[in-house]
């Protein structure tokens, strides 16, 4: 991997330059919330913000979009014009999240809608300042070694810039004079300090060790019922989670014809309709079964299959659930067999 150095004041110029490649998007403040938005330049971004409400998944599979136009001659893929986009300011956990989604959408039966957007999106990561909700160190996602095109680590005086792909390198080549290859002893020490600092920041107390077994043992534990009694079935947790990918598909028709579109939109396993099959049988009729599915899928099943949970520790469920059900409280409750206040 190529690592370069860049002066902090050059970032703005650099971003100005790369806008030639595509639209620039980054975390921007809208009132009290932070969302990924199209921006003109660095000045409109808030690089100190810890997390956006929705992760960058919205760029790769939008909340709702059209898959096909159809008429009685058949289904025609809607190749909507997806613009070239540069997402600046993505944090390591979200890049980890995108990697999980890449595996799902790009391997067997590659999803052309995802692939198209992924292809046209450059990921320019940025180091972050964790808050009390972040769990990245418990998940080993506080740093990232791949999966981005460029990654900027802010070392106060300058940036260290990881070049993660050939397309990232092309961006660097647009303004080679802004980058410096000479990394010295101080830089290495500096970086090491930064790593220590970052690890120390994360205080959520999340602990995912031993989860597959603890889930298995606690499968029938009453704590699930207690959690389900509190759960609003609002689905917010799944909408904000970077590794939730479920979707539903419906056909819409044009007035007076059978022509129309096949649309796809985010769905959630927290909803009753999710597992309902024809004839009214529901495999997860009870809220508790649905809650259990979500957590089992993220924290047990994924570990059994891939050796790691699919949770990337971004803290969004912690920041979002109005009744405090999230990976931290659920794992803690399972471990201690008690639902915390």
């Amino acid at each position: 991997m190529m690592i370069l150095k860049m002066k902090k004041e050059d970032l703005s110029v650099f971003l100005e330059t790369v806008k030639e490649w595509g639209e620039l998007w980054g975390p921007a403040r809208k009132g009290e919330r932070v969302v990924f938005q199209r921006v003109d330049g660095l000045s409109q971004m808030d690089l100190k913000a810890t997390r956006t409400i929705i992760p960058p998944k919205k760029f790769l599979y939008p909340q709702r979009f059209t898959m096909f136009d159809f008429d009685d001659k058949g289904y025609v893929e809607r190749t909507e014009h997806v613009p070239n986009r540069i997402l600046f300011g993505i944090h390591p956990c979200d890049i980890h999240g995108i990697q999980v989604m890449d595996e799902l959408f790009l391997e067997e039966y590659r999803d052309p809608y995802y692939a198209e957007r992924r292809e046209k999106t450059l990921l320019l990561g940025h180091s972050c300042i964790p808050d009390d909700k972040c769990m990245c160190s418990a998940r080993d996602t506080e740093f990232i070694a791949e999966g981005f095109d460029l990654f900027f680590t802010d070392l106060k005086m300058f940036y260290l810039v990881w070049v993660g792909s050939s397309r990232g390198h092309d961006l660097v080549r647009m303004r080679p004079e802004l980058f410096n290859r000479n990394i010295g002893r101080d830089d290495i020490l500096n970086y090491n300090e930064y790593r220590k600092w970052k690890k120390a920041q994360v205080q959520s107390g999340a602990d995912f060790t031993g989860m597959p077994d603890i889930f298995e043992l606690g499968y029938n534990s009453p704590i699930w019922d207690e959690l389900a009694e509190k759960c609003l079935s609002c689905g917010q947790c799944t909408m904000v989670c970077p590794t939730c990918n479920c979707f539903n598909v419906v056909d819409e028709v044009e007035l007076g014809t059978v022509e129309g579109t096949r649309d796809r939109f985010w769905d959630s396993c927290m909803f009753r309709e999710y597992s309902l099959v024809a004839g009214g049988h529901n495999f997860r009729d009870k809220r508790v079964e649905r809650l259990k599915l979500w957590y089992t899928h993220k924290l047990q099943a994924y570990i059994s299959e891939f050796g790691e949970p699919s949770c990337v520790g971004c803290g969004r469920c912690v920041a979002t659930c109005p009744v405090d059900i999230n990976v931290v409280t659920v794992t803690k409750a399972l471990r201690e067999q008690e639902v915390g206040k």
């Binding site: 009132g31 009290e32 919330r33 969302v35 956006t52 409400i53 929705i54 909340q63 709702r64 009694e229 509190k230 759960c231 609003l232 079935s233 609002c234 689905g235 917010q236 909408m239 904000v240 419906v250 056909d251 819409e252 028709v253 044009e254 007035l255 007076g256 014809t257 059978v258 129309g260 985010w266 769905d267 959630s268 909803f271 009753r272 309709e273 809220r287 979002t320 109005p322 009744v323």
Partner: protein
């Protein structure tokens, strides 16, 4: 495809759903072209009472005369679609349906005066009296949802509506959750379809789409009590638009216990 014969009727409500049909300005002319509108008293005068493929009924039923008319419409219509929260769930005028006390409220307004046009009933949703094949809720209905449903019906297909709560659309729009600020929001209890307009304007959802398919009234109730609302206020707030229905759901809950626990 011969165009379906349609009637649009209004009972007690604000006429907002019929108005929303007229508000489909860009599609109004297409709409009148795709279906054969035999009756739509709010928009035309040559109305006919004939056999219908689809009757759209707005408003709750609140007089005996209306009830007779509704039954007559039902007997002529193959499919009866309730449009708007009043027709689907009773609307604001039905918020105290489960509580009783209609006589007293009625007297509070009309005193002992005799009204001869018809006998008043406490407002109830359309399906309290006749079979309803489809409900298109909303206060008022949403243009997109309405046109989607009508287009499907005309094409001989089944309409589809979101089965999840307002919160889902609210998150799609990337709003901060109002409940987290300790303030009331009916989003988790309310059917989606409006695009979460209110929370997107920093205003709590008031529940005007009526109850969603799978709601946890008890959890919401408990949460709001914890945030310092009084039980009366929570009840009033969550029964405002579809009181009858939500009140039914609340019946099994040991609300008093919850308060005691607090």
């Amino acid at each position: 495809m011969s165009s379906p014969r349609v009637g649009i009727y209004g009972f007690t409500g604000c006429a907002g759903d019929q108005l929303m049909i007229l508000n489909c300005e860009d599609r109004l002319i297409d709409l009148f072209g795709a279906v054969d509108i035999l009756s739509f008293a709010m928009a035309k005068s040559d109305n006919k009472d004939e056999e219908l493929d689809v009757a759209f009924v707005e408003g709750s039923i609140s007089t005996e005369e209306q009830l007779e008319h509704l039954k007559n419409i039902r007997s002529r219509a193959k499919v009866l679609v309730a449009i708007g929260t009043c027709a689907c769930w009773g609307g604001p005028q039905a918020m105290k349906l489960e509580e009783g006390g209609f006589e007293k409220r009625y007297k509070g307004v009309y005193g002992d005066a005799k009204i001869a046009v018809s006998k008043a009933l406490e407002a109830q949703p359309v399906d309290a009296f006749v079979k309803v094949e489809l409900k298109i809720p909303g206060c008022p209905i949403d243009k997109t949802e309405f046109l989607s449903a009508v287009s499907k019906i005309v094409a001989g297909r089944h309409p589809y509506f979101y089965k999840f709560p307002v919160c889902t659309e609210c998150k799609w729009k990337e709003n901060l959750c109002i409940l987290l600020e300790g303030k009331f929001c009916a989003g988790p209890l309310t059917k989606a379809g409006c695009g979460a307009v209110c929370p997107s304007h920093n205003i709590p959802c008031v529940g005007c789409w009526g109850p969603t398919d799978d709601l946890n009234v008890g959890a919401e109730y408990k949460l709001l009590i914890e945030k310092g609302y009084s039980p009366e206020e929570v009840t009033r707030k969550i029964t405002k638009f579809s009181g009858a229905e939500v009140a039914k759901l609340m019946k099994g809950l040991e609300l008093k216990d919850m308060e005691a626990k607090k």
